[in-house]
Symmetry: C2
Subunit: 258 residues, 2 copies
């Protein structure tokens, strides 16, 4: 089986023009099939603020109301996605930017109203790989933003880490799939203030220990959950760390394995 | 040769949610290969106003500065393009939304600075049909917004009518290509106040007469120029009129022929 690399980048890279360009330049050099998934960054919050769209919270969770969804759609699928695609083209990487609505590639369901109404937030229910595979088979790199749809005409805000994991899982039966979560630390750290305290390998057993100990930073938990979910569903390798883990064999990162 | 229909819609349809849905519902029923090209509508101006981005004019022409380009990218490639794609999916039309940067499908060149600096406005220099054809061949409908790129990482604002004409011309050697400009009138009118005064056919000779007479409304001129440009370059048929010309055999419109 051919290897497919799925790479997720977040705000820390997206918010810095120079860093983004440098990353995309290197990303373009990755041989073979690859998919880029991007989150949002600060631009969406900034735009919402400029438009005086109030940040709505419910029990500490952000609510995506209709106005916020519009902002997210404009920033993620518009500004960020097209900036990335045009930069990749300038580095001779033929890319096509997509939301989950495009090619019906990621179908989600509006999160059911229980204690909290999250608004227009979607949980992934299906990945259709046909269009993505069509592009990949022609050497084209799909660039996915964190917006999905419900097949009934509603766009939905969906976590980019989850989208990356779902894509990796959907392709795991046809590709030797690796998933890379790029962020601003060297990996999962034992001590969040010490970049050298990387936990180099996490498996199901150590994962449960880490959670029990409470030794994983709170922000890391959803990311780690996505990682475990991926390796439990035939994704061969999941790595968390700085982008250099993709390009530099000697760069350390955290590998999540079964 | 198979027929390819290229349909351009503008602000008059896009600005009205109900009209847009109704149009897309009908558009979905068109059998065979089709491409939708959309302009902007009032949303971009509204957003620019909300963000207090001044409208910059030079000798009566609007200038696309960097802030305006961001707004256009967010609105055209983000909000409008993804709204259209998700609605088409809900009508069982598998669509993929694209800018000219995606798949490198429309390459443009920043308009050279002469008397007027238009800012980030691009004139089309090349259409690459490969990715579009790849999608069309799988029954997928490309939905193009009016943003192109220069292959060097710069997005550029490009007239949607021109994009539609350039696409039609690029496909004219492999498809029997028809081009439809949908707008808010029954066609090119002899008397702009009389919807029944449709000029049913315009060819190169009558086109020149109309221009000489000054009997074409000023706003129609660039559109008509694009039409003549298309038919002069092997596009089989170009029609201007209300969207119903696409779905109703008895609906009148203006046909531009050689």
């Amino acid at each position: 089986m051919e290897t497919l690399k799925i790479v997720k980048i977040g705000g820390n890279i997206i918010d810095n023009d120079k860093e983004l360009s440098s990353f995309l330049d290197q990303f373009s050099t990755i041989n073979g099939p690859k998919i880029l998934v991007h989150g949002g960054g600060k631009l969406a919050s900034k735009l919402a603020e400029q438009l005086a769209i109030p940040v709505k919270m419910n029990h500490g969770r952000r609510i995506t109301d209709a106005a916020t969804l519009d902002v997210i759609t404009m920033v993620y699928a518009g500004k960020i996605n097209k900036t990335i695609v045009s930069k990749l083209q300038s580095f001779n990487c033929n890319a096509v930017g997509l939301s989950g609505a495009d090619g019906n590639c990621i179908v989600s369901k509006k999160r059911p109203l229980k204690d909290i109404d999250y608004g227009f937030v979607g949980d992934v229910i299906k990945v259709n790989t046909e269009t993505l595979d069509l592009l990949i088979s022609q050497g084209i790199t799909p660039v996915l933003c964190a917006i999905t749809h419900d097949e009934k005409g509603q766009l939905l805000n969906t976590n980019a880490d989850t989208i990356a994991a779902e894509l990796a899982i959907a392709f795991a039966s046809t590709y030797y799939t690796s998933l890379y979560y790029c962020f601003e630390k060297n990996g999962v750290l034992r001590d969040v203030t010490d970049e050298d305290s990387i936990i180099e390998t996490i498996n199901a057993t150590t994962y449960n220990q880490l959670i029990k100990n409470g030794s994983v930073a709170e922000g890391m938990l959803p990311k780690l959950n996505n990682c475990m979910y991926a390796v439990e569903n035939k994704v061969v390798e999941v790595c968390i760390g700085r982008p250099k883990m993709l390009f530099d064999e000697s760069a350390k990162c955290t590998k999540i394995i079964l």
